[in-house]
Symmetry: D3
Subunit: 284 residues, 6 copies
């Protein structure tokens, strides 16, 4: 009995969050271990379902580097990286798209649909809702820079109670000349969050969040602090694009950007429905 009452208390502790977030859009950049480990995957699906039932409108953006590499390898297509960007030929682009739209995207969609909600998997090519132009066609090929996000498409889907699952591929403005673009998933998530006036953007990573130079975890940061941490080299490597995407989002009006540890079970709920959260929050 005591245990049951404990359970109920937990439900009640979530009350203020439910009140605050009902009707709001959360953009979730899904990636890392949480996208690979079968147990974690299932937890993520449960978390998204609970968010949805509590009135939050989740919008999922995913990446998929590993699957792309795997498929390129099998097809014996070599892939070169310049400045961290994958040089994307037409042939590579086709593989990227098959891996993202044809494999990962549908896998996530299925995962969530198993719980009785209606997830729908799309890419920026659907209804041309993300358009891009090449960053440098000669150097990087079909790596794209986002020009526009048509939020009405996502809102149409949300209006019909769908949970959109978005693959980071963009349509070319001039679709005749380019078959589409490979875009950075973190930045895509930020731009989508901004265009939707999302309440939160949450990046699922394989790190506990942002650390200071003494490896102490930082739970809250403002833009200036981020810049200082980058300048002093504390934020480095793979964390740089994450914090840059966070800044992009908050600069364009998203109130809070979260970097959380996707390796922790139910990280999404822990961050959203408990008082301290588990990751780093970045705000204006």
């Amino acid at each position: 009995m005591q245990k049951k009452i404990e359970q109920v208390k937990v439900l009640l502790d979530a009350l203020p969050y439910i009140k605050k977030y009902t009707g709001e859009i959360f953009v979730i950049k899904y990636g890392g271990s949480a996208q690979i480990d079968p147990v974690l995957k299932d937890k993520v699906a449960q978390d998204i379902l609970l968010m949805y039932l509590m009135g939050i409108k989740p919008v999922i953006v995913h990446g998929g580097g590993k699957k792309i590499n795997e498929l390129l390898e099998k097809l014996e297509i070599e892939s070169q990286f310049i400045n961290g960007l994958r040089v994307t030929s037409k042939e590579t682009m086709e593989v990227v798209e098959m891996a993202l739209s044809g494999n990962i995207n549908k896998e996530i969609t299925s995962l969530i649909n198993q719980h009785g909600v209606k997830a729908i998997g799309i890419s920026g090519k659907d209804a041309n809702f993300i358009t891009a132009k090449p960053i440098d066609i000669d150097k990087y090929g079909l790596v794209g820079d986002i020009i526009s996000v048509d939020e009405s498409v996502i809102n149409n889907l949300l209006d019909e109670k769908f949970i959109p699952i978005i693959a980071p591929i963009a349509a070319a403005v001039d679709a005749k000349s380019h078959p589409g673009f490979n875009i950075n998933a973190d930045l895509a998530a930020s731009k989508i969050a901004a265009s939707l006036n999302a309440r939160k953007i949450i990046f699922m990573t394989d790190t506990p969040g942002v650390m200071d130079k003494n490896k102490n975890f930082l739970s809250t940061l403002i833009e200036e602090e981020i810049i200082a941490l980058k300048d002093e080299g504390t934020i480095a490597g793979g964390m740089i694009p994450k914090v840059d995407a966070c800044i992009e989002a908050i600069d364009r009006g998203v109130p809070k950007a979260h970097i959380i540890d996707g390796r922790v079970e139910h990280a999404l709920l822990l961050e959203s429905f408990t008082s301290e959260g588990i990751g780093t929050v970045i705000k204006k």
Copy 2:
């Protein structure tokens, strides 16, 4: 951290209930200690709020015998009971109505409003939504037998996101001749639940639920079992009107009627969102 994960698991355990009950009406007969003890009162308000935020539409029906007695005493009006019914003169009726509509009803309304939702306190006289005729005007005076419940009035309020709090007073069909009727709160709750096609009716009592003759708690019962228990005298006293009200509700289409122990903190949530519940469930 482990504790937080435990918390999240509790939230997830509630998922199937949230899915099942979202958009459904729960009629709650509020009474007993849960209506008197300040700590319990607060818990009830929290429970109702959580239900509301999870998409349930709670409708509260209350009684108020103690307050009526208290006020009658202060006013030195004597009250006689015949067959468990309070003989209700016009003078007594005025006191009954002041205690119910003017005191208890508004107190519950206030209690719930403190949590940022919009409760609205009414009686069957409002919009004439419950009408009654006298059971036996010469014997009992203004004790009424419900003729009709206009569920559209409650649905109008639910449509506007109000939580209705209902005092058990009915309007007379011929309002000129009678100022109103004192009606049984349990039966009123059952008839309201039936007319609203409620998913559940929950009676909050000061007992753990229904027991068999060996004082073993019975968690599930069907109508025939209830009748047998009444016949053998195991269900007796104050429990009789409760089970009768339960049968009234399920006979008229409410899938489940619950008799729960209002003395247990968060009894409403325990019954609604945990697998075993805490009280007796009665179904067809």
Copy 3:
């Protein structure tokens, strides 16, 4: 036949008023003899019904000093007045609320419901729609000063075709510390009228309206004239709070405030649907 044609002409004389007022809100401060005399009560109900059928949205605010006094006396609770305000202890407040919300409010609601419309009786505690703070807790106790009126609650009820009947009780902003407040009904009516952008506020009194110093009836007044009449002492006694409430209403945007003689049968219709009206009109 001639008589019938006369009747029809009367209907036609009402045409311009019907055209002008359809869809508009009239706030009616109901009180005085019209609230006590059984014949007058019935006429008021008829008038409100006709207004309603002609497309006006009536909102009724009532007082109830006499009933409160009566009940306090019966309960042997003494009541002290300072500067015309009833010093209101918690015990007194409970009685005030029972008399207002539990007796008078439901009586008016019933009266109007007998004519086949849907009146609903509420107080400022319902959905917390009127909040107040103490004027001077030490001096007057629970006498409140209105802080806010949430007009959306009344509009929700009007949208569902209800006629709201409002008792002058307010919720405390900090509901934990105070059980509610006794507020002035005239001022409550004015603030409600202003928040609803009412077309008219009508005060039903036991006087023919405002008089000049020679006891000549004044049919139209502007704010400056009211002030002059108060300064010279012509407006005095119980008329002062009425004209103050009128000024409060017109200062906050209500086009016209009426002080009418509720002792005249059908005073509401006479004032609203005949060319000269019967009371004093106050405008900017």
Copy 4:
């Protein structure tokens, strides 16, 4: 003052009618002196306006024999009658239509529009809403028998708050072969009333209503009585098509058909909003 109270009582006497008729359609066959006398015309317009403001949806059908005759005469076109029907050549049809749609219809429309409502003048040719076939093309020419009434067209106009004014002209089903048909206005009104599920059809005539053989006025009649009166020859001449039209309407579901004296000022209101009315009512 007494006079004013009398006025208000008249308004209140109309209450039950307003309650009963709000939202209902009244089809009015407008004709006779009420369509010619300038004073009566103005009264009719006022009556229709009042009906409209009280929530009734008036639909006006008019005739226009006099104007047609006048115009035919001026144009020196001879007109022959067989069995009371005007033999209608193409040339005559053009004149009939100009007189009805181009003159009388717009005159009535203007008359009503002067009071601030939106009347719209149409004929059965508009949106092809009345179609007809020739009764006997060789004998009567373009005299039509109504085949269908498309009530959706009138409902479309009522939905947009227009008052439809209808000239009795029908479109040919095969519009290529016939330019349109001259139809009987009384019958057109009946068929329109039936197709719209009108609450009432009112025929404005230049008689006090139906009389028995002793010239006693008959205020209420049922179908069988009408037939008996026709058989005995008491109903004769111009009254025959009126009562036939009444029977057509009530046979097809219109609850009441009225034959009233249009020469009486405000005959429409007298019939609709006073207890005895002024004409003959025919019902099933």
Copy 5:
């Protein structure tokens, strides 16, 4: 087969026009031979139907000088012209209105209704949607100058999927003193187009369009060029009111005004759905 493919290509050539014009209002001033020649009339009806089915909202304004003259002549009413305006007595006005509203307007309405759409014929008197004042009552009589166009009336009809056919007659603001006004159909069309935010206004004439002084056809003109052509006398006679009406329309916000040759079969479609069009386009 080749022929069929040719046909399909034609459909596809119309695609960009369909995309551009769907949901837009086109005001068509219908007149000249296209209103008289039976073959042309039929083509116009087909063109309007196709426009309608392709999502354009056509609004037709017509004149009718010939019919008016014919009828005046038959009735032996002499008609005098001053400065190109018909001096309009009350007697003449009645004839004008019968010819326009009772004959031509219904004829066009019928013509279009034969194709299975719902055209509705009205004049400015309907719902008083065009009001006018006399230009010079002593000189011209009932020739009116448009004061206002109530576009909501036309939008109400368009909302109900009607095609409005409008006769150029206006109501008097003071309807008691004047029975209505004869207004210029070209100007009426321009003012209606402007008030409706029409995408196009198209004038159907009996000329190929505007010519320069060497009789070369001019396919596109801007306002300044029109003025120059008028100044040099190249635009003269009946073309002046047309170009003035065009300028009125584009000055008040209509993007394009077209003067087309109504003698060409399907001139409306040719102008609207082929790349070069057939007439003169005037724009800002």
Copy 6:
């Protein structure tokens, strides 16, 4: 000029089809050369766009055998066929899905989006809208038999003005055990058409349609004739599944099923908007 008039006549010839099909759903099974030849692809996109603009709601279902074979070959995965069905291992299924959902589906979506409409590419896994069970898991692996089509998902998308492009992949009812199913695109199209109450289903093939035994083209067939032709062996090979899918559709209520020659430019428009069409029509 003559040519332009010819063009306009073509537009007008399409009128009856536009009237008939506006608001109706057409399911198009897209495949064969029309899906491969760049010129034909562009024509198909234009045809679909024109249908859409003319008020038809197109729903596209595609196959993709060639692309699947190509990708399997590159990945050196061998594929075995039993009774014309591809034995589908988990590994093969992944490739099938990448080719269909990740490549072909998005290519078609892009193709159509280039014309300014909003196509959205999904598979039966999205919102779980097509579920299937294995035909014979041991023999064929993940080849599925459709159990249900949730038409509400497609209707949701159509309501938001999307053109759905559907890949023939189904979700497993028990998603945990099977990653999805490879389903026959022709049958999927038929079942989708039936569940949507489509007006037409059109199969694009690389044949002119159905022939009799003398190789004469058959333009119209009923079910019994199809069966006879199958029995005599005239319908054979790849045509069998097409006609079976046609029969499935018409048996379940689709009025007409068309087998057309996708190698003909604009075959879709030719079939839908010209009087004789170009393929074989099958009806009840």
